[in-house]
Point group: C2
């Protein structure tokens, strides 16, 4: 990189810091961007600027949107008794795509992970407990990822919720074999959960 113009190095250094982009890809993208028509780079700059200027976190569920409360929290026809707790805004997109959830969401903003110094106070947990103290809320679906950190976070939230609202039904999103999977390729952990989570076949 030492012999490259500083202007190129500057953009390569920014791109390198994005997840999944290494130095080689960053350099390729930079050279690619150089030879794109100017309007493409203008669109790119506009997209980045709007990202910071037009978007914010919903003060209710902490999802990302242009309005506050967000569009999902503003939908009156949704089921107020049901809240699905997820790690990240993209998880909301994934669940919405199933068209099989009619409740509201709560985006934690991550998971408890002592290794990178993320504790419960760094996540939107206290505001979740506050939402759940309302008698309107009947069930909380904990839909953090089935990873070690996701499980620990779900457990932490469960304990907090039990203290606040004893009538609350607390569920965990189902674990097991993904659709289309092959049994003999599944790892023992998944298979164990699939057996534990077996359902009456109807």
């Amino acid at each position: 990189m030492e012999r490259l113009p500083q202007t190129l190095v500057q953009l390569i250094r920014v791109l390198e810091r994005l997840p999944g982009i290494g130095p080689k890809t960053a350099a390729r993208l930079t050279f690619y961007l150089f030879q794109t028509p100017p309007h493409f780079v203008d669109e790119f700059i506009k997209g980045l600027r709007d990202l910071k200027e037009k978007l914010g976190n919903c003060s209710v569920c902490h999802n990302i949107d242009e309005t506050d409360p967000c569009r999902i929290c503003s939908q009156a026809q949704r089921d107020r008794s049901l809240i699905c707790v997820v790690e990240r805004p993209l998880d909301v997109v994934a669940i919405e795509a199933t068209r099989s959830f009619s409740g509201f969401y709560h985006v934690l903003g991550g998971v408890i992970n002592p290794l990178i110094h993320v504790g419960p106070d760094d996540l939107q947990i206290s505001s979740l407990l506050k939402r759940c103290s309302s008698k309107e809320v009947k069930e909380i679906i904990l839909a953090t990822n089935p990873t070690m950190e996701g499980e620990a976070t779900a457990l932490h939230i469960k304990k907090g919720l039990e203290k606040i609202n004893k009538d609350l039904k607390i569920t965990r999103i189902g674990h097991g074999l993904p659709m289309g999977a092959d049994l003999d390729y599944a790892d023992p952990g998944t298979l164990k959960e699939a057996l534990k989570g077996r359902q009456v076949f109807s």
Copy 2:
């Protein structure tokens, strides 16, 4: 994507158009960028703007730089008798990194590829022939990639050069086994070139 805020979709659509970035990665990068500190996005915007405002192509070798002629073309101690012809600016970086080439470069800006309508006139070939008409130039190293298009482009340039300057030595960059390679994993084409390009062992 349909339920995402327009501001997010706008940036996802831009990122998707970059080489090697699909819709999933584009969405992940966009959400990642949303939660980065504002100064990171500012740096990103600055990098993109500078790319178009501060950089240009060298009028001699067509490499990318902040100055014209570029820094390599401005180095008086380089060997004026030698020009290495490459496809892209990144190829110049790769060859410079070897610290074993002291001549000048000529960046074609691509290769002849009828499938995507790139003909000889879309590349910096006429300016190369003009440079080579000077008696100062003694050797041209054709260092286009060893692909079908790269070979065809090298052949096309060779024919053009032979017409213009009969005394010119025209060489092709060596093909063969890459260093550290395993003979029985090499494809027949590479092995054939490696045999043809065998050298006296000294």
